[in-house]
């Protein structure tokens, strides 16, 4: 038997919900005004000429330009490159930290997270100093006789990639480390008791069980790097031109607001595509989770 809802009490309940909703209103308004509205404005601007008339010419211009496609390629190259290097450097580091005693791990984590707290400009400057032709790294390499000539490490793709990996690595590390820390020690003991070598344990137990963390870390890397501006602008030396750089140049140098907006929309679409890709991949991973015993 159900009891009919008392309309007065129901109204009270609604009033309380409205009150709690209203607490979010100020924050929602300012986010709406300073984030959502600007994004919508980019869409509007992409259909306007410099004189303010409606046009689709901006799209024509941007999509037919070779520069756009090379910018797109540069964006993907940088993001993918950063991701690959982060996985290669970050996963072993996360494993080492997760296997350390908790107190040691906490101290080391504080060190690893330090870059996260310093300004990106401070870090970029540090890399400029290290990577220049007469910088510390080239000086060390020449002194050791490893290279005769100083290597071109900065104002190019290599330098940009180094800077971006340096920025992203702590953010990638966090979820991977958390996933590895969460692995039940008894699982590793169980595998050992059944005869697994260290390599087999890593391959068949630790990596599959931290796949979720690696996945989350990869999403973070992609979301951040796809619109990266400062690092390519400083360490790229004009030779690395991902979408963010093209947007800035179109806006500041050419004062072409319409085309800059189209490029911005392209960036948004790219982000949406990658998000969909990741979500699909996650779903597939969940399906194929089982039956992976044979090492």
């Amino acid at each position: 038997m159900t009891i009919a809802a008392d309309p007065v009490l129901a109204a009270d309940g609604r009033r309380e919900r409205r009150f709690f909703l209203s607490l979010s209103l100020p924050a929602l308004c300012i986010v709406g005004l300073a984030a959502i509205l600007p994004l919508l404005w980019i869409i509007r601007q992409s259909f306007l000429t410099t004189a303010g008339e409606y046009t689709v010419g901006n799209y024509d211009k941007v999509l037919s330009s070779g520069l756009t496609w090379s910018a797109l390629a540069a964006t993907l190259e940088l993001s993918l490159g950063t991701l690959v290097v982060c996985i290669l450097l970050g996963t072993p580091l996360a494993l080492a930290l997760a296997s350390a005693r908790p107190r040691v791990a906490n101290v080391l984590m504080a060190f690893v997270m330090l870059p996260l707290w310093t300004s990106i400009l401070v870090r970029t400057y540090g890399w400029l100093v290290l990577l220049r032709r007469d910088g510390l790294i080239n000086a060390a390499l020449t002194a050791l006789g490893l290279t005769a000539e100083p290597l071109p490490l900065v104002y190019n793709f290599t330098g940009t990639l180094i800077g971006m990996v340096h920025y992203m690595l702590p953010l990638f590390l966090l979820p991977v480390y958390a996933a590895m820390r969460d692995i039940d020690t008894n699982l590793i003991r169980a595998a050992a008791s059944m005869g697994a070598t260290l390599g087999q344990v890593i391959r068949t137990v630790i990596l599959p069980l931290s796949a979720g963390g690696i996945f989350s870390g990869s999403i973070i890397v992609f979301i951040y790097t796809i619109g990266f501006f400062i690092t390519p602008a400083v360490l790229g030396g004009g030779k690395v031109n991902p979408l963010a750089i093209r947007i800035e140049r179109t806006l500041s140098t050419f004062q072409d607001w319409g085309s800059a907006s189209v490029l911005g929309i392209l960036l948004l679409v790219l982000m949406a595509l990658i998000a969909v890709m990741f979500l699909t991949a996650r779903r597939l991973m969940a399906y194929n989770k089982m039956g992976a015993a044979h090492a």
Binding site: F19, F20, L21, L23, S24, A27, L28, I30, V31, G32, L33, A34, A35, I36, L37, P38, L39, I42, L89, P92, L93, A96, L97, A98, F111, V112, L114, P115, T118, S119, I120, L121, T124, Y125, G126, V129, L130, D134, G135, A139, H166, L169, T185, R189, A191, A192, L198, I223, G227, F229, A233, V234, A244, I247, E248, L251, A260, S261, G264, M271
Partner: protein, 263 residues
Amino acid sequence: MLEAYPDNRLARVLLWGFSALVMAFLILPTLVVVPLSFSASDLLEFPPRAYSLRWYENFFGSATWMAALRTSLILGTLTAAVAVPLALLSCISMNRLGGKAAATIQGVLLTPSIVPGILLAIGLFFVLAAQGLVGTLFGVLVGHVVLAIPVACIVLLPALARFDWNQVQAARSLGANWARAIGGIIVPQLQISLLSATLMAFLTSLDESVISIFVASGRNSTLPKLMFLSLRDQIDPTIAAISTLWTAIVVAVILIVTLRQKS
């Protein structure tokens, strides 16, 4: 975690050796600027042949740098002052509403931290340009506030989840209105979380460069904007001095917060 494999010395040495290199990679750029900032030379020699404080004098003696520092500090303070109360209110609302409503609010509030900074920057630039507000402190401030709100929420939301809501109901039953209940019961108990949220909001604004680059100008240029411009043009050791100061302040703040939380 790997204590089931006490004998794999070689693997251990390799793993930790590799990890040490990666950690060095992470720390190196922050550390390398410290000695440079005390160099007496215009060149970025390493190690410096002679030491001096000239780059610090250069920084503190320059009207442009000082104006930028002032702008950044004011902006950071205002950002924290606006973003943290707004974040607290919406966290209370998310905590109480729960379910879909809370998820939707959270989604909207998180948008600015997911969307690439460059898009926020140019969108905000367009909107402000339409209102004739480009170059004003207000323009940069709203940009920084929307970036700081999600950061503050990340700190406050779990703190509120641990908070025993019955206390507020007790206060209400004793006759407190909502403002008193929030101000007198929630705020004092979330003191430490509110402090870290404030610091994080402040640092978010202080560190933000992309919005500043597009929206701030002239007198209202921020420190990161000026640093960015001078990095693009020439490598000036003054930046090494600023970087060293910056790192020192951040490390000090983190130490203070961690020690406070422990005690």
